[in-house]
Symmetry: D3
Subunit: 123 residues, 6 copies
Amino acid sequence: MSDSDRFEKGAEVMQKLLGRVPEEGAMQEDFRQITVKNLFGDIWTRPGLAVRDRSLITCAVLTALGREPQLRIHMKGALNVGISREEILEMMVHIAHYAGWPTAVNGTHVAEAVFKEIDEADG
Amino acid sequence: MSDSDRFEKGAEVMQKLLGRVPEEGAMQEDFRQITVKNLFGDIWTRPGLAVRDRSLITCAVLTALGREPQLRIHMKGALNVGISREEILEMMVHIAHYAGWPTAVNGTHVAEAVFKEIDEADG
Amino acid sequence: MSDSDRFEKGAEVMQKLLGRVPEEGAMQEDFRQITVKNLFGDIWTRPGLAVRDRSLITCAVLTALGREPQLRIHMKGALNVGISREEILEMMVHIAHYAGWPTAVNGTHVAEAVFKEIDEADG
Amino acid sequence: MSDSDRFEKGAEVMQKLLGRVPEEGAMQEDFRQITVKNLFGDIWTRPGLAVRDRSLITCAVLTALGREPQLRIHMKGALNVGISREEILEMMVHIAHYAGWPTAVNGTHVAEAVFKEIDEADG
Amino acid sequence: MSDSDRFEKGAEVMQKLLGRVPEEGAMQEDFRQITVKNLFGDIWTRPGLAVRDRSLITCAVLTALGREPQLRIHMKGALNVGISREEILEMMVHIAHYAGWPTAVNGTHVAEAVFKEIDEADG
Amino acid sequence: MSDSDRFEKGAEVMQKLLGRVPEEGAMQEDFRQITVKNLFGDIWTRPGLAVRDRSLITCAVLTALGREPQLRIHMKGALNVGISREEILEMMVHIAHYAGWPTAVNGTHVAEAVFKEIDEADG
């Protein structure tokens, strides 16, 4: 597959999942290219694991590792691919026991902020 | 709910997911009670998130945090609740990008060992 | 023990340690219930380890893992159960060597902010 | 304080806590010197936090971070400075909730191995 | 070496690397002394590894562990000892694969903030 | 660049750095392809950061995160690209202060095992 095909494929899944593709200038250009091509173009589009499941485990890993800025972005993605608010909150209760209470409390706060932002945007 | 009801409920989900309930003496008794009652009885049985999804995110978190002895146990659980070998291996490729290559390489090795053990037991 | 007994027991230790029990609406309701009942009602009240020691190791773990919002809360708890400011600051110097300088520098900043807040509230 | 005084001071606390001082050749010589002088000589001997409390938080941090070879060494130290087996096991139940179940299960296994080793040495 | 020699030696490397030595009152006094004497005086001045290499690996470790306040300080240090902006950004692309994308995205944001601050100060 | 060009490019850098390219069957095939093509072919060959520096920061990150099986492989790589044994051991002393003593002690043990293995192979 050519580089531009990989980029296009990655941009498509980013648009569908996250609602946007980072524009030129949004981040260091090479890292942007690699993110769109390698991470989204090559990996997220692979068969073998449903996009919903990829979204679920991405949120779980980001919660457990305490990567809150990225969790915020991927929680919106989770909602976009059909994971419910209830499932997201329940995931936090579950992860509390495998990665410790604080990661899950922080994840719950991220979820509450994301839900509020969406509700306010919806008027 | 009474303490013995909580234990029974937890033992049931452990049996179904992991194929066994830790016997008295298998680990420090109080921790065993809390594991069966609080973690499996109270948490794993909650509605709001399917057992398959709980299993998926448990494996994802254990991989990302490098908890290999527990990953081994929960990978068998994942197979028991209908997650395929292909999905488990693909989860590793995915997590490589969110928690780093080494966690995923280690997770793949755990998966290969689990699959082999099952195949050998099946003769 | 009944669910309401577990809640009451947990609320009592939270009040004594942290000076407050999270009210309904303060966080997702199920997680609040589980936090009060399972974490504080079942665990913090157990014999075998003094509350002071539980507080000490909780602060140590939160420092080492970089969970600063929770560290802030539990440092106040530490002071409430008789751990001195000097002991808290010295804990940071010690942990620097087991979890790395940055975790301890961040923990020291949290301590300084907590001490200042208390001093200002005391007028 | 001179370098040899710092070494001697560190060796003394290592002997008392861990029952031994690493001999020349036991590890890379510079790192051995820095460990005895800086970590044990300068830090463990400081006032402001009791040796028992230093031992307790060291074990807690090592458990939470999953540093099992060091946890094994420091658990023996904990027993040497008067922390009981019951307290060590209870610490694990507590930490399960702040750093996740797997860290505490692994810590419990380390404790059981240490207790067994001591019992066997005692005949 | 005397304590005041160790302090002076540490202060010198801090000045050269980070452009400043923390003044009395900037942080808890004992921790400040230990930081200047043990970490900078004893360690950073050791032969065996060039200061540029120490700076490079310090930034790498801080990125991988998500210690952003310290990364900000040490990135300025990296530029001071001759590591280029291009090398810093490329380090982030590389680390994305060993510690996960989020650590590297956060590190890139820190780098962009540091570069901007320097450019603005340079007018 | 075509997929086979990316593979070839990655295989070349793996051969030079690590002395081998994982053969078909050595690990799950898709992950092997992605490792050779994306990680080594796309990333390790990029300009902007010397291979020696990539090797240095890879070892540093693996040490800090406690990824010992991978550290073992990349330490051999470090020696292959001209990093000395002294530099590797000194890196451990340095990292002890940023990621905690245990990570560095474990890294030192890995180094000692690697050096011994090489010396024995050299007869």
